[in-house]
Amino acid sequence: MRTNESYFQIVARRFRKNRLAVAGSVIISILFVLALFAPLLSRYDPSRIDVENILSPPSAAHWMGTDESGRDVLSRMIYGARVSMLVGFVAVGIATLIGIFFGAVAGYYGGKVDAVIMRFVDIMLCFPTFFLILAVIAVLEPSLLNIMIIIGVTGWMGVARLVRAEFLALKEQEFVQAARAFGASDFRIIFRHLLPNAMAPVLVSATFGIAGAILTESALSFFGLGVQPPTPSWGNILSSGYKYIDFAHWLSIFPGLAILVTALGYNLLGEGLRDALDPRLMTEE
């Protein structure tokens, strides 16, 4: 018989058993450290131009070579991790908050409120998101902040649906009726009884969402509509590098790999979380 183990401890224990999930979280942790301590970890100023060393291949001095302006690619990659992490978290944070709000209101109050919100979700889902973002960016100026907001504002519908579905199922549960029976307010029922029990799928979808947001940002930056040079982002490093792919492949390979590995890391983490949080597996062992 298990004793005094909180829900979180059970999830952590099950998560640790999953090797791929642990690999994913290691990747993400490394990226975090890189992003957080970028100034300490990079040997060069990412925007320092060195005309003597243009497009030089990877060497002891420049582990990932230099770009067409002689800037150190490794340093730019490390600073690029900052952009990716920031965009991933802020955009998904915005999307999740909006999604939880609409999903909770629709699921809890039901009826006409629910119908209106969910039709609005359907309308939002009809837009091809990427082109919507392109169009909006074309009107606004492409800055880091704008990108995060736009990715967030166009990405909350899945979360809203998830939260609504969870709420619909949960609000009929007897512990919610019990709370109502002793006079708990709607606010208390939503935040104390419903949301904590609905967070597992939201967390999983947010993790996958971060991978998606990072890919979107990279794509936008690749097209020149994202983070603007000279601020380094993996997308714009790739974008300026692909012209030289015939003789300076390191300019394309490293940012490409970084995007791949990051997206992979978040997806592994998400899958691991999904399995660890699965309530159907909760009672066994």
Binding site: F175, A179, F182, R188, R192, M282
Partner: protein
Amino acid sequence: MTVILEVKGLKKYFPILRGFFRRGTQKVRAVDGVDLTLEEGRTLGLVGESGCGKSTAGKCILRLIEPTGGEVFFRHEDILRKSHSQMRKIRSEMQIIFQDPFASLNPRMTVGQTVEESIRINMDLKRKERIDQVVHLLQDVGLSAEDYNKYPHEFSGGQRQRVGIARALAVHPKIIVADEPVSALDVSIRAQVLNLLQDLKERYQLTYLFISHDLSVVEYICDRVAVMYLGKIMEVADRNDLYREPLHPYTRALLSAVPVPDPTKKRERIPLTGEIPTASAPPSGCLFHTRCPERFEPCDKLEPPLIPREGNRGVRCLLYAED
């Protein structure tokens, strides 16, 4: 005996939503004009087959489900006319114990938090006093102070049910609706929980509305019994009268199906044929006539009222009609 709760003509119709516009053209008459009287300090049993509307009736009385019609007088005030904020203030007077001890506790809250929450909302106490009260309550229902920080999944069904009982008691209710409180429990621990309920009734001066399909449990714990069928009360009587001399053919059939722990005792079984009709298309006349072994000429046309009988009992059957 003072009447603490009186239910008159309680109705709950659920619309069946169909089609694109989700219009409710048909209705399920889950509760269709139920009258009940709870006397202070006594236990009223509400029995019937699954789907007869007994749980819905219980939840309507607490307004956990909004009734379609009727009146519920608590201390001579109709609580169905109260606004939501007025209602919140009297909610602590009437609590509920649920059937499923696995669904009735929030899995993310410790047992202590669960019980404390109901105190926090209804009483103005300091944290220390609240915790003392919770510990006291846990001990009263047969748990220990160490259980405060445990999560529901660490308990067995019977223990969880005790937590549910502690939560209901925490706000000092006058009435407790016990919605099949022991049906989900192992037979071996049913008696313990029933005895606990009996005990607490004395100690906290409670009045129970005890909802169950188990007639032997009801016989054990209830003072008065109402038998429900398809949303209506078919018979109501004091326990001893009902079990000694059931009047309604439905009650007789139900009682004949109760297992008796004596293999030498032979009894006549009254088999009920057919399924319970659906409450969306109830039979004409007497609701029970489609399955009644004693139906006669007018049963499928005339709907009998609840006919009062000697000894403060009533029966909804044409066999007992005067003319």
